[in-house]
Amino acid sequence: MANVLVFAETRGNALRKVALEAVTAARALADATGGGEVHALVAGTAGVGSVAEQLGQYGADVVVTVEHAGYTNFDRESVAATIAERAKSGSYRAVVLGFSAQGRDLGPRLAAKLDAPIASDVTAISASGDSLTVKHPGYANKVIATLEVKGPLAVVSVRPSAFTAEPNAKSARVEAMAPASDPSASKVVVKEIAEGGKGTIDLGEAPVIVSGGRGLKAPENFKLVEELAAAFGNAAVGATRAVTDDGWRPHSDQIGQTGRQVSPQLYIACGISGAIQHLAGMRTSKTIVAINKDKEAPIFKVADYGIVGDVLEVVPALTKAVKEAKAGH
């Protein structure tokens, strides 16, 4: 029986999807060790503790709230120090967090601070005796490694969307904790946040992704992709490396081996040939649709549903049909 500490990531004092996935993974791990507790730590400005009830609904026994006016932006140094202090204060089997932008940054800091081995970006976790066994896709998702993580305490970050958040109601006790280091003492200081487009859904969280490639022929034709995404209502827009390298779209939109790796419910590839670089970032999507004029394009080898045709004609027709379907026609 061992407790598991989980960092529940928030944005604007609301839980992110990956936070509940991490709590679910932590719950399963605690249960696998014979029924330990899950302690979820949240850090934010005043009021972030309001997520405690939701964390309890997903399986947290204790919610540790760390509120500080200095936590307006992500304070990596203070938050890492605070999670590490909490981890040292109890006999935890593992610290679990999401492999998000924040989690990628925090995980290795925690490993070094706690002198604990770390497994990043895992898609499965199990406990066996003194070690944890995890699955981690490496080589840009082309190889899946099963890793043994030895020792009494480990840091584990979970791949977004690999675990499905499951309700598992507990009446969570809430404990307030002060930051382990004053945010004003942090050396890395956020000067500015450049927000993405209004109302955009993050690629890592969107259930539907509509992506565009060179087949769109010109940057202005990307609006066809944006319109299709808008028709779904819950879709994010992605792009290939060729397109981001040419400056049609920002680098942050790039899906592929060197960009974001995504696993949405539905991935629609518009004018994308399907270079290995791109496939590495989206081949784990549940359903893949491809629209491309070249019927020999490698994207059709992975597409559940392929349409051979001109994206400039098919995409607008699809947008119209999706709107009609959504409207119940």
């Binding site: 992500f74 140094e77 932008a101 990628r104 940054d105 290795p108 800091r109 070094a112 601070k113 081995p117 770390i118 990043s120 970006d121 066994t133 981690h136 896709p137 490496g138 080589y139 840009a140 998702n141 190889v143 899946i144 490694a145 099963t146 890793l147 043994e148 993580v149 030895k150 890395v188 200081v189 956020v190 000067k191 500015e192 946040i193 450049a194 993050d202 890592g204 259930p207 539907v208 779904f232 680098h251 942050s252 539905l266 290995i276 549940k286 359903t287 491809a290 059709f300 559940d304 549903y305 349409i307 045709g309 001109d310 004609e313 098919v314 699809l318 049909a321 999706v322 379907a325 959504k326």
Partner: protein
């Protein structure tokens, strides 16, 4: 500035991979190895900073067997001044163990800046740079897509999910480098010749115990073969029907 760049040697990412008969590693037969893409961006950033800011030194470090010497030479042919190999028979998958070896070597080296790739293609874990900085007790900025150094201070841009942040930090510091920051130069013939005479030091890597080990490796399940459902706009109604009734995503 005195800049350290920690680099890794990884197989060509466009390769088709097979699992070795041991089932605990990939089969390296026939694979082409080179400096990891993100490491090459880090080397380029270091060279550009020192070119822009006048006299400095760029030192490259790699943990690994003697095959990493080729990768270190490549960094020197791009323009790095000298190289250090931290020798080990094989590179562990335990990122913290690697970080300990690098931190032991970098400690007291007087570096203003320590650069890394944001992660390496093979382990895709992104542990080493951040953990090394923590062990050294210096600030670290991860996954930078822009980096400027002026007046003993650094400014970096990081892409977040759906946003970006601009951060400031004092030196000495560590930065892990993301894509889009700089295109790595090709070594010139002159650079390749010069690199042969540049110092490459070899020392044992102080790795410590590897607590993350590979139990097995497998290839991911193949997706079912793709299916073309039709041509042009005429195929759209069938696609909608399949998305609604078969895939149930609409």
């Amino acid at each position: 500035m005195k800049i350290a760049v920690c680099i890794k040697r990884t197989p060509d990412s466009e390769s088709r991979f097979k699992i070795a008969s041991s089932a605990t590693s990939i089969d390296e037969t026939g694979l082409k190895f080179d400096m990891d893409d993100f490491a090459s961006y880090a080397v380029e950033v270091a060279l550009q900073l020192n070119e822009k800011q006048g006299p400095g030194e760029t030192v490259v470090f790699a943990v690994g067997p003697d095959s990493v010497q080729e990768t270190l030479r490549k960094a020197m042919s791009m323009g790095a001044d000298r190289a250090v190999q931290l020798k080990t028979d094989s590179v562990p998958v335990d990122g913290l163990a690697i970080a300990k070896a690098l931190a032991a070597e970098l400690q007291g080296g007087g570096f203003d800046l320590v650069l890394f790739g944001k992660h390496a293609f093979d382990t895709s874990a992104g542990v080493v740079g951040t953990a090394t900085a923590e062990l050294l007790g210096i600030p670290v900025v991860t996954a930078a897509t822009k980096l400027d150094i002026a007046g003993g201070k650094g400014t970096a841009r990081r892409e977040l999910e759906g946003a970006a942040e601009i951060v400031e930090f004092p030196l000495p510091a560590a930065v892990t480098i993301d894509e889009g920051i700089a295109r790595p130069r090709y070594p010139s013939l002159k650079g390749i010749m010069a690199a042969k005479k540049k110092p490459l030091e070899t020392k044992p890597a102080q790795l410590g115990e590897a607590r993350v080990v590979v139990k097995s490796m497998e290839l991911p399940p193949e997706r079912p073969a793709g299916k073309i459902i039709g041509e042009g706009v005429a195929a759209v109604p069938e696609l909608i029907r399949l998305l609604q009734t078969e895939a149930k995503v609409l």
